[in-house]
Structure formats: C-alpha cells, structure tokens
Amino acid sequence: MTTEQTGAAVGPAIGGAPVDTAAPLASGARPGLFPPVPRQVTVAKVIIGVVLSAAALYAPFYFEPTINRVLSQAIYIAIAAMGLNLLTGFTGQVSIGHGAFYGVGAFTSAILMIDYGWTFEVTILASVVINAVLGFLIGVPALRVRGLYLALVTLGLAVLFPRVAQKFVDGTGGVALLRPPRSDFSSLIDGLADDQWAYFLSLAIMVVLFILAWNLVRGRVGRAMIAVRDQEIAATTVGVNLAGTKVATFAISAAYAGVAGSLSVMIDRLADGTNPILYFQRSIEFLVAMTIGGAATMLGPAVGALVLVLLRRNTEDLIEGKEILAPALYGAALIAIVFVLPEGLVGGVNRLLARLGRRSSAKGRPPTRPIPDDSQ
C-alpha cells in the first residue's frame, strides 16, 4: 500500500506542521516547508510503512467477517477524517457539519441503487459530484464566518440533515431507513468473500484519496492552505486567494465525506435518517479521529479512525453487565490519548522518531549537513 509508505516517509515534514513549519518560517532560518530529515528516521518510517501496509493487506484474510466490517468502518471514517483534515487540519476551518455531507453521500448511493438501479461503484462518483457542489454552495456563505461561528453554522447542517431525510425519504417500515439488497454489493473478484471485497474496495479508494490529498498539500495549494490557517492577512499579502482556497477546500473536503458516506452504505448496509443525532455524532467522530490521529498529518486520519472504531468496539463489552459504562470508558480512553499525545498518535510518533534520529546522528558520525534546531 503505497500511501502508507510514502505517506510515512514524508510524514515528518507535514506532521507537526502547527509547530514545526511555523517556527522556521517565522525565524527565517529555513526558507523551505520541508526541513531535511535524518536518514535513520526515513529508514524507520519506511520500515513502519512496509509493516503497516503488509498488515493492512493481510488483515482481511486473517480476521473473521465481523472484524473486517469494523476495519472497513475505520477506512470510511478515515476518508471522512482526511477530508476534514484538509479543511480543519491544514486550512484551519473547523467544521462540525461533515456528518451531513457523509449523510448526503450515504443517501445518494442508497437512493440511486434502490430507486434507479445504479451499480454501487458508480454511485460513489455521483456522490463525489453532488457533495463537491454542495460543499461549494455551503462554502461560499461560510466564508463570512470563522472559528467558533463557522463551527456553529456547520453544526446546524449536521442537525438539520436527518430532518430533511425524514421528510423526503420513505424507506422500509415507513421510516427514513434505506437498505439496498445484499446482492448489490457482491464481490466482483473470485476468491474474495463479500466482506473482503468491501474491505479492499474501501482500502483502494482510501489509498487513492490519501495520495490525492498528499499531492495537494505538498504543493503550492498546500502552502496556500497552511498560510490561510496560520495567518490569513499575511497570506493575502503574498497573493493567496483567500476565498478561493477556502471554498475549494470546503468542496474537496465535502466530497471526501461524501465518498465515506457512500462506502458506509456498502459496509453497514444501510443509510439511516431515523436517528436525529446520528450525523452530529458522525461529525464529532471525524473530528476525534483526526485529532487523536494527528491533525495536519498524512496518516493521522487513518490511525485515528482505526483507534476510534476499535476503542468503541472494545469498550462496549469490556465489563460484563455494566454496558452502561461503555461510553464513559470510551471517553476516558480518548481523553487519555489526547492528554498524553496532544499532537495525536502520528504527531507523537513523528516527534519520537525525530528525537531518536537526532540522538543517533549526534552520537555517530558527524552530520553531513546541519540538523534543524527544534529541540523545544
């Protein structure tokens, strides 16, 4: 799985961006966005990447279908969290409304399949288009507000969406619940069971989307996004199109959430409008996945999503007869992670590797070029 390798390899550059990139820029000591990385660190990252990729490819053959479904859920949450990462992590615009885009994606796929007989894979493309347009339309007025106010406006979206679904969707049992038949998601590859097919299809889409995101943030656009996040006024003075950057990021980010929603129909086998707070919960989950994985890192959303779904699942039945405590345990574990790893898991690993790399190169041969001083 290439993203994880390549992503891991460049991780340090983009990882920890809130601190690391701002500091050299401000001090003027280092003009580039990507400080050089000690070779040992690069090697360590490649090894980690290879191991993770191998694990990701082998997992669906090892685990039973129930676990594979959980892993697939992690994948779609990772995709949505990556979309949010582009908007919040890199561009600094907080959205609590991505659950709504996710919901639009889910219902787009479910409705196109059930009422119009579309193939599932094609509905994903429709989902991308619809959500990008929707994200654009919502992104334009959202330009006028920022910070907490933007969070509140987008929160409205997440709360509104189930009502809209309840009003216009008439599904099974007379409620806003759509369930495409199982046969619509059959494996297209011989030798892969349905659950494995769903996993690999999701994984492939995630890899593509992560590579796209990586390409986006490491180039000119990415620098513009980070500039918008860190210092809007300074960004405009150097010619960054503030409105364009924000709206485009909003649209792209919404499209990611839409793809996640489409995939969720295949994995959970339903699109649900019956629960008034479901899409609000989803929004929060995307934020949490991004944060505990590491905001503004390339692998953070994936790691965060995996940790999130496994935590959720494993706290459920941890204490026999005390299921009511599950949300508390789950919450406490999340707090513990954020408390000890404020930069997220990937951010924390990056920091650890950077420290180890510095130590080993300081001990061993003299460095061929100066190591950036970021010892704080």
Partner: protein
C-alpha cells in the same frame, strides 16, 4: 508525577483497549462454500434457491442459538420486560433437558442487544448477532417493533435465517413474499380496527373518530386497518394526527384532535406516547370513547396513564396477571412460579412478561414439531402450526398458521381498563365471555397493501 513514564503508561493503557478481543478468521465453519441451498427440499413451500446460507444444514453441536434486539434503555425500555418472560421459559426448558428436535436434545442459547426502538440500530444489531453469512445464530426471535422488523426482513430473507415471533402486530409480517419472517400471537393491528369498529357500532354508531398514530408503517396499519373496518358504516374518521417514531410527548397532536369535535378516540400510540395521549386528553377535558393500542396494555404504560386510563378499551388474547380472575389458574400459577425463579427482576404482574412467556412456549412447540434441526424445517413447522392452551393464552384461543394463513393471533377478547386508585390492582376487565375468532379471515379484513407493502 507527570513525568514521561506516567504519560507512557496512560497511553499504553488507552491503546491496550484498541488491541483487545480480535479473534481470527475461521473458514471451516462457513456453510456457504458449497452450492448453498441449491436443491429444494421436497414438498417445501419455501423457495430456497437464492439462499446465501444453506437452510438445510443441520445444527452442529447441541445448542440452538437465538438472537434478538429490542429496546432496553431510556424512554423505550418498557418493552424490555417481554424478554424476561421468554428468557425464563427457555431457562426452564433447558433445565428440563432442552428442546427435542427430530430425536436430539438441544439447549436454547440466547443473545440480545439494545436498539432503543431505533430501526437502524436493530439492523446493525441483528447483522452483527446473526453474522454476515448467518454463521453466528440459528434464528432471530421476538425482535420488537414494526419498522425494526422491516429493517431486517430483507437481509434475513436473503440469508434464509428465520425471523420468528416478531413482536409486532403489523399485518405485513404475514406477507407471502417473505416466508422467513413471521409475527407472534399478538393480533394483527388491522383487527384492532375491526374490534373498535364493532364496539362503536354498539355504543355510538355515528361516531366521529380522531386517530393518533405513529408516523411509520405501524401507524399506517392502524390508520388503514380502521378505515377499512368502518367502510359502509356511519362511523367517520374526522382527524388523524401522527407523531414521530419513538416520541414520548404528543400534547400538540392531542390539542388538535380534541379540537376536532370527535367523540371517539383511536389511540394508536405505543410506549410513552400512549399514556401521554391519555393524560393530555384528560387534562384537556376531552372524554371520548377511547381505544388504545394492544401494545399499550402493559402495567408499566397503563400505570403511567393512571386515572386518565380509566374506561379505555383494548383487546387481548392472553390472561392478564393483574386480573384476579386468573389467580387460581394453573397456567398463571406456573408462569408466576417459574418466572420468579429464573428472572427475579421481572415484573410478574406485567402482561407483557406473560406475552414473552407465551411466545417462548409457542416457539418450543414449533421447534419440537420441526422434522429436522434445520432452518428450513423450523420455518416450515412455523408455517404449519397449531396450538392452544400454551403459555397464558386465553382459554379457547387457537394459534394457527397454514394454507396461506400467516397470522397467529386471530382470536381476541375486548377488555376495559378499570382504575380504582393509585397503587391498587388496577387492571383490564374482560368484556363478556365470548372470544371473537376470525381465524383465517385476516387476509380479507385487511387492506391488501398493508400485507404486501
């Protein structure tokens, strides 16, 4: 104290939760590898050609696993008492050696999850409990709710996993198109329409009726079922109000219904919406002749209504534990004794515990009648079933399916709630001594689209 070691320990503890409880894939036990269900069992009325899991595979081992999903917490928890009844019955059967199918004895094992009456959660619960290919359970049993059962019906049908004794009276549970789902002894909701229409014909033949129904197929069954029942009479529906599925508060709807000038009230609410409707109607000074949903006749919900429930009508086909007339009844005594022994937390006076108990008794009969320990055989047994005097069924009630009749509870007796005082043994009093038995007529008495969607 907050050194790096502390941080590392905290992080490891949190992450340990992530890694817990992941078990490996076991490819041996999937019955799906073979050409599943290709051969149609001789003489079977159920089409098994497209089954994902082979319905003719026999149970391995000596356990039969039943799974369920029903509301267990929050404002919808009242229905969780049903399970205490069936769990107690199964424990009793297991203690006595288990259930015998085709000469072998099987222990009944159950597992259930809370869905808070939300159909999407039911779907996820059942998907997980049954497994992607039906490998984790033999059948589902007593899943509560109309929309909830409809949310799992297609998937279970594709898998060919029996969905037995669905705890809903929606006539759609008797659809021929979905042979793997069948309802319980709770009478079809369209018959409540008929019963209320018959009652009004006696008491107020020109009644103007206001209806409160849930905004889903459960409510549609009441609305259309009653409309069909009053066809050709002078009874007229003047107003229908709907409330969101699972809502507990309906005062706006009651204000509107009370203002409609109706002198009869069909309260199709369930869970807390039902007593809330009664209380709000009483508070508004609106005193129509009232029918309440048979799903609302439990002690919990009528207890919430209290004085406001006095005089309301409904029907049943079970003996009510609160009714002193049944105190000396041997079936009622056995029920009380066994449930108290195995499920001490159960509310023995609650009629829905008796409902759960009775469904378990019927299921055990269905299993014992099956010709083989297979899903197909059990489903066929369910489709050709006759029983009476099981559980706490009223004397004379016969539960019967077969020959295209997919409705179990087609006999009922109308009853009226008598509220004496708070804390007293308030209960429904059966009206008259005669059962109304419409065995085999539900298809004719119910609008076609309520059954086949």
């Amino acid at each position: 104290m907050r050194g790096p070691k502390f941080r590392i320990v905290a992080a490891l503890l949190a992450l340990a939760l992530v890694g817990a409880a992941c078990s490996g894939r076991d490819d041996d036990d999937t019955a799906t590898d073979e050409d599943s269900g290709g051969e149609e069992a001789a003489g079977s009325s159920i089409d098994t050609a497209d089954c994902v899991a082979d319905p003719t595979a026999e149970i391995e081992g000596d356990e039969i696993k039943l799974v369920s999903s029903y509301p267990q917490s929050g404002a919808t928890a009242a229905f969780s008492q049903i399970a205490r009844g069936w769990k107690a019955y199964f424990q009793m059967v297991n203690e006595a050696g288990g259930v015998e199918i085709a000469g072998n004895n099987y222990t009944i094992v159950t597992e259930d999850k809370d869905d808070q009456y939300n159909p999407a959660t039911t779907a996820q619960n059942i998907d997980e409990l049954v497994g992607a290919d039906g490998e984790n359970a033999f059948a589902t049993f007593s899943v509560v709710g109309t929309a909830n059962n409809l949310a799992i019906r297609d998937q279970l049908g594709e898998l060919c996993v029996p969905n037995l004794f669905a705890a809903t009276g929606a006539p759609i549970m008797g659809s021929e198109d979905y042979p793997w789902t069948l309802g319980s002894s709770l009478s079809p909701y369209s018959l409540e329409g008929k019963a209320f229409a018959d009652l009004l014909a006696e008491q107020n033949p020109e009644a103007k009726v206001a209806m409160l129904v849930q905004d889903d197929d459960f409510g549609t069954a009441y609305e259309e079922g009653f409309q069909a029942a009053i066809e050709g009479t002078d009874i007229e529906v003047v107003k229908v109000e709907k409330y969101a599925t699972g809502a507990a508060e309906v005062s706006a709807q009651i204000t509107s219904l009370a203002a409609s000038g109706a002198d009869a009230f069909f309260n199709g609410g369930t869970l807390l919406a039902c007593p809330d409707a009664l209380t709000k109607a009483a508070a508004a000074g609106w005193t129509p002749i009232t029918w309440i949903s048979a799903t609302c006749t439990s002690k919990t919900l009528m207890g919430v209504a209290g004085q406001a429930g006095d005089g309301v009508y409904s029907y049943t086909n079970l003996k009510d534990p609160l009714n002193p007339d049944f105190d000396a009844d041997p079936a009622m005594q056995e029920y009380r004794e066994v449930v108290a022994q195995y499920q001490p937390e159960a509310d023995l006076d609650n009629a829905i515990v008796g409902y759960g108990w009775t469904q378990a008794a019927l299921l055990v009969q269905v299993l014992e009648n099956a010709e083989a320990p297979t899903r197909l055989a059990v489903m066929e047994s369910m489709h050709n079933f006759e029983a009476s005097e099981e559980g706490v069924l009223l004397p004379g009630v016969t539960v019967h399916t077969g020959d295209g009749d997919n409705f179990l509870g087609e006999a009922y007796q109308t009853m009226q709630y008598e509220f004496e005082a708070a804390g007293a043994r308030n209960h429904f009093v059966l009206i008259g001594t005669e059962l109304t038995d419409v065995e085999g007529e539900t298809l004719d008495l119910t609008p076609e689209d309520l059954i086949n969607g």
